[in-house]
């Protein structure tokens, strides 16, 4: 008998895999480095925060990935370049004010809590 209790893959991971597949045949496919970094980051964020707003996953023109959370005029954007010789970072924006910092998993959670998940 089929197991009807199998849960579907969490949407954000399915979205990331779909983007990876969609970009496979493009001129600049997502690099394995960008994909695995994005997957590890999202896994951490989901484990720590549980339910979270669905991010906008966007490929760069050179094989990187941007993960973006938006709420009103607030943005938390994680930029993951295609190669190791470039810097991963978090860009935050509220209205016209912005800030940037190097990427770490805990910084992303902190940014989401303060800018996106706040009441």
């Amino acid at each position: 008998m089929a197991n009807l209790l199998v849960e579907p893959e969490t949407t954000v991971f399915a979205d990331l895999r779909a983007l990876w597949e969609e970009e496979k045949d493009s001129d600049t496919p997502i690099t394995p480095r960008a994909f695995s970094t994005a997957m590890a980051l999202l896994d951490y964020v989901v484990r720590v925060l549980g339910d979270m707003p669905r991010p906008w996953l966007v490929p760069s023109s050179e094989g990187g990935i941007t993960i973006e959370w938006l709420r009103d005029d607030r943005t938390v954007r994680v930029v993951i370049p295609p190669t190791d010789d470039q810097v991963d970072y978090i860009y935050e924006r509220v209205g016209r004010e912005s800030d940037i910092k190097p990427l770490s998993e805990s910084s992303v959670v902190q940014s989401l809590r303060s800018l996106i998940l706040m009441p």
Binding site: E22, E23, S26, P59, S60, I100
Partner: protein
């Protein structure tokens, strides 16, 4: 390179290289559409639209359509829009570049400028041409 005449060309057009650069649900334009590649000195734009499903005026292998921006709006962001150099071997009457964005940023401050410009350009862009009907 001569400044693009904003009166003669009030709008400029940016190719959509990746389907996800425009969000189907919200119509929002991604800032990724306005980031320079490693070898680029400016963002390529067309001075006149007019692509069709068979013809890509930007001569790209993969193009999902075009965003449109007001030329004056781009200049108001502190950027320049310039025509091709008429003496350049790859001169095109219909091609221009948005310049003033840091190229190959290495510091966080330069990366922040890149993100600020990309965010501002995305905010003044709207979908103009949907080549494959992906956004409707």
């Amino acid at each position: 390179m001569p400044e693009t005449d904003a009166a003669g060309h009030p709008n400029i057009y940016r190719a959509i290289l990746k389907r996800s650069w425009c969000d189907v649900r919200s119509g929002r334009v991604s800032s990724e559409a306005f980031k320079l590649r490693e070898m680029e000195s400016g963002l390529s734009v067309l001075k006149a639209g007019g692509c069709s499903i068979d013809i890509c005026l930007a001569k790209l292998n993969q193009c999902f359509g075009e965003f449109v921006l007001q030329t004056a709006g781009v200049k108001n962001l502190g950027l320049r829009v310039v025509d091709d150099d008429p003496n350049a071997p790859d001169f095109s009457e219909n091609h221009a570049e948005i310049i003033g964005i840091p190229t190959n940023p290495t510091t966080l401050e330069e990366m922040k400028q890149v993100e600020d410009f990309a965010s501002n350009l995305a905010a003044i862009s709207v979908l103009y041409y949907d080549r494959y009907g992906k956004y409707t």
